[in-house]
Symmetry: C2
Subunit: 679 residues, 2 copies
């Protein structure tokens, strides 16, 4: 981190002097090496120094419509700039395969840079993130040649329309129909009900002119389930909606207000046969449906998206904790000792308890996402050899990890926002809109409870295998080990070995207990579906415990295996321990029930946790400094590098258009007559 | 609830037919009798039928400035209408004592009606809620006569300016100074630093022309601490800020964007001696400071405000659960059994686990607030007789109750919002703005962690008394009873007696354990202040357990003592049990450590909880129907009485100004050139 040439708040200067490790070493570790840090910073400077991205008036003061218009402007400029970016070949962009451009798009949209430029959602994002990958993944070679080239060349702008007003997670329930008419060799798209209207796709409202539409395929009088179709929505010249296309935006939301989420209804819209994406299943000219032998090919995209979500959660949380930690170092409050000056709020143990476990979470999410990505690559190469064995394990791990990363991030962002007191409630703090982005992820790409139940389905199956003595794949092997947890308990010891083992004992215990409850219900005469539903609270808890166990383990393992300097190793170890103890103590009931922990041991763990907070306290600012987040990406007077919190807050308030005139017209129009009327 | 003359969603019709109790009986119980229900409904009709309050375009689509202007218009109309309201005497309004008008203002602003008319904060609220009560509470009889009359007659509009940019909860740290100048018999108000600027007062930005300003009083060269002063901010005719007054709004926030929160700086502003509110302390003409013998008089307002906050939390949560429960009855999703139609999401046990404990919380908060209000009235009459004994107890109970009600409500609102999936993320669902109102209360009127530590301070003191054998006041008498919890445990039984007792055992256990940790630290050589800080995580946990115990007890007690019909009694009992078991199982570690609960008992409690969910399921819609919330107050397509969820959502989306034209200008300005540039 380069110290800028401005006065830095003396509290922050002191905090930085106290730091016991080299923050640059941690920055490089998190970026994946010095070269990547430099590359990132170059990219950030390239975009963030551009005055075209600066808002004269912050977006939150504009109307919803103006916000959208500005975002379209910025999004166009952003992608134009991306093409023109040095150190990259333009040819790659125009010519698929598009890996290099794809990588750049990902860095821009998936990372924090995108949310610095367009805070509340990019209306062109789905063109890159969903439309193009779907064309690539679901199109035949000919379709790819034609459509990907049109899309990459930005002759058209697409989105991906799946979710409907009445149908989300359960995609088999989608109602939109595409009925094949062999007479004209066309599909007829139709929205039979209001609930069948597409609802939510980003960019659909007023931005895209094409979409991949997921619809129930009917041909020769039979429904063959959902399939993807390319549909033109608007005239390419005038942008007017085409006949039969009912389209618009769905309205204002908690956050992401400039993504231009839209609705879409079809009144007998005809598209040519070749607009069905036919890489897998096909419809022949005469209407014959030809099913593909394998359907596994879309698996990779889903995995990739979940890993990206976990990485994003880690990034957004790193932003939130940077803001809250620096603010807590600058803010002074109350009297700890009579007559003494007001201490930094960071000195309060309760404040540390809000900030430091949230900081630890940033690492836990990052390391778990790394682990699952490596696992994906292994499984993928096994897949290529026809080995499908670890696919369910991978699927199960990715489901619960997405659920925990998003819900942990959402609650941690709120915890640290509230830790900033009233000032965290200011939009300018950037914490509210960070929450808006993070909490949305609890719902999209698989609602969290549904995902946890998918993991539970796998765990229940695995549990049966464990009970019948089968050897299990690595991430669930603990079910073999700890299926006998009711045996006489070992003595608890305050070591990380014991702690990690205890997390797995708890997971095994909760898996077993959920399984037993299901069985008991089934034996009592309940159908297996009812038994599943009645036990689902416990099934969710079992999945959560399973996921927490591997998150703790991967954190501890990654830290112990990393080859960093000793001072940094010490800090990372403290963070891993804090993460583990925090979650252990939150769920201590489970540990008392299923691990070696006894009530007499709890005091010692509480003390250990408090000592970790005390040890990490002097490095709190150093750790968040290592995240090395550009002030423009933080976008918060509370969190800027220089700690000029109050000056920046005041400057920010001056940007409110209400403050541009001393007397608002509402005084003359409403207030004065109101007052007069009472005289 | 009158069934309106529209088609009601058949799922809701069925739900209402299934209901086992008389919803009207519960409505009357919650309102405090049939007469009060009628009165409330009359008031609602009076206001909500007025077309002047209807928004052509929902506020969320307007700019920040336009939103403010509309709110001023509505606020003026609202209070004008209040004066003109039938069944109330205008004289009461013009002539203090103002009880009748005050009550009406409270019903309008404190209840849900106010937030239905102005969703995101009333810019005139503080005039009624803080300015007037402060004049009444802190002014001399002469000051009251002059200022209250001006304020009631709406010759002036005031606010209350205490919090500063750098100073919130710790009010002794305020920096604004009021220095007495005997030569002119004036106070000179000054803001010595940027951090001393007033920051946050509602209505301060552009609405009020007067304020009660809290400042450090200096006279005869000595500081006498903070005192209240009446300061004119703006010219009464032109509304221009007076010389030396630096004023404006603080900017956009997570919510409450139309309260017009402001900042205020003073550059040597002179006000006459008589503008200091002198009911308690005085400054004489020569500058002599005369301290009042008693300072207890402001106590009532603070108590009152906390009780109102708890009631508000209960109301806002009742709104959120009504929306989410009705939506969950209308929404169908996934396949529970192969081939069966998609079930109502309300049939999923996991969904019930999100909704029903939140519904139970509505009652728990309401009953606890009632209890503490009754306690306040008792203590108050004791106070009149000079008996101050129960004041600390009352203070302690009100601190932790405010903290738990606000944080429980915030997390419950988010839980049920997320339970509505993507549609809960829509602003039109009204759940995001409800969260905005509720989460704000976690910070204002005493930040929650600070409040819990105040309760802890009392509990620690009480614990010492218990240990020395003193008899304790009722709400902490359990510390006498359970101080010996390490004695051989009784057998657990699944009865509410045992459960309620266990909550107190846990509270006692956590109080004791926090006290012991403090002592251990003090004995280890730490100062008592450091020991306090180092133990503060446990102190917060002890306060929380204390509060939860009395919330559970008051719920159980209120239900068992109420004289309702048996069918209603059954439902209320189930809700009380659910509330208790929900929190018991969340914190089961504490119960395993400190109560008679053993690990073998936990399964039975889990089963009990699941059975309660199953029993309450058929009455879920009936219970929220009983809250009897007007559709205009719910303000949500997801939650309207008729269950026309999708039709209403679609209608709502049509109000977005972006949808008023098929092609937005950004296509021609930005998108088309961007596309062209790539051809």
């Amino acid at each position: 981190m380069v110290v800028e040439n401005v006065a830095v708040n003396p509290d922050l200067v002191r905090e930085r002097q106290k730091c016991t490790f080299n923050t640059l070493e941690l920055t490089h570790l998190l970026d994946g090496g010095e070269a990547k840090t430099l590359e990132r910073k170059e990219r950030e400077d390239y975009f963030l120094s551009d005055p075209a991205f600066k808002d004269e008036v912050p977006m939150e003061y504009l109307s919803h419509k103006e916000q959208y218009e500005h975002s379209v402007r910025k999004a166009c400029h952003m992608f134009k700039k991306l093409q023109e970016m040095p150190h990259g070949s333009m040819d790659n962009f125009r010519d698929p395969p598009v890996d290099s451009m794809g990588k750049r798009v990902k860095q821009l949209l998936g990372g924090m840079l995108g949310s610095a430029i367009i805070k509340d959602g990019n209306p062109l994002a789905l063109h890159y993130v969903m439309f193009l990958p779907t064309l690539a993944g679901q199109g035949t070679v000919e379709q790819q040649a034609f459509w990907i080239s049109r899309a990459w060349n930005l002759e058209i702008i697409g989105t991906y329309a799946q979710t409907e007003l009445g149908h989300g997670t359960f995609i088999r329930g989608l109602e939109t129909t595409a009925t094949y008419d062999p007479a004209t060799q066309e599909f007829v798209l139709n929205s039979p009900t209001l609930t069948s209207y597409k609802w939510w796709p980003g960019g659909l409202g007023h931005t895209a002119n094409y979409a991949v539409v997921v619809a129930q395929l009917y041909t020769q009088g039979k429904c063959h389930g959902i399939h993807p179709f390319i549909v033109q929505l608007r005239d390419e010249e005038t942008h007017m909606p085409l006949p039969g296309i009912i389209i618009g935006e769905i309205g204002a939301k908690l956050g992401m207000n400039t993504t231009n989420n839209g609705y879409l209804g079809f009144k007998q819209v005809r598209i040519p046969l070749e607009n069905m994406l036919m890489k897998n299943n096909k419809v022949l000219e005469d209407g014959t449906y030809v099913k593909s032998p394998s359907d596994k090919l879309t698996y990779g995209t889903m995995m990739f998206v979940r890993v990206v979500i976990c990485q994003d959660m880690s990034s957004y949380l790193s932003k939130a904790v940077t803001i809250a930690t620096r603010y807590s170092a600058v803010r002074h409050q109350s009297e700890m000792k009579p007559g003494a000056p007001e201490p930094q709020v960071l000195d309060y143990r309760t404040q540390q308890y809000k900030l430091l476990p949230s900081i630890a979470s940033v690492f836990a999410m990052k390391f778990s996402a790394q682990w699952i990505w490596e696992m994906y690559n292994v499984v993928n190469s096994e897949l290529d050899q026809g080995d499908l064995e670890r696919l369910p394990e991978l699927h199960a791990a990715s489901c619960c990890l997405k659920a925990l990363c998003t819900s942990d991030a959402a609650s941690a962002v709120e915890t640290v926002r509230l830790a900033c007191g009233g000032h965290g409630y200011m939009k300018s703090s950037n914490l509210p809109s960070t929450y808006g982005l993070v909490t949305a992820a609890c719902t999209y790409e698989g609602e969290n409870t549904v995902l946890l139940l998918q993991t539970a389905r796998y765990l229940m199956k695995t549990w049966q295998q464990a009970r019948s003595g089968q050897t299990l794949t690595p991430s669930v092997a603990y079910l073999n080990l700890y299926s006998d947890w009711r045996q006489p308990r070992a003595i608890w010891e305050n070591s990380m070995d014991c702690v990690v083992k205890a997390f797995y004992q708890v997971a095994a215990g909760k898996v077993k207990s959920a399984a037993e409850h299901m069985e008991r219900r089934a034996k009592g005469g309940m159908s297996s579906e009812d038994a599943w539903n009645e036990s689902s609270i416990e099934l969710v808890a079992a999945s959560t415990a399973h996921c927490r166990a591997f998150m703790v383990e991967k954190f501890v393992e990654t830290v112990s295996k990393s080859s960093v300097s000793r001072p940094l190793q010490t800090v990372l170890t403290q963070l891993a321990e804090l993460y583990a103890l925090y979650w252990l103590l939150i769920n201590k009931g489970d540990f008392l029930m299923f691990s070696n922990l006894s009530p007499a041991d709890v005091d010692g763990l509480q003390l250990w946790l408090e000592q970790l907070l005390a040890k990490l306290r002097p490095n709190a600012v150093g750790i968040v400094d290592s995240f090395d987040i550009h002030d423009e990406i933080l976008g918060s007077p509370l969190g800027a590098w220089d700690g000029r919190v109050y000056e920046r807050m005041f400057e920010e308030s001056q940007k409110s258009p209400l403050n541009s005139e001393p007397v608002n017209k509402s005084f003359h129009e409403y207030l004065k007559p109101f007052l007069r009327s009472n005289l």
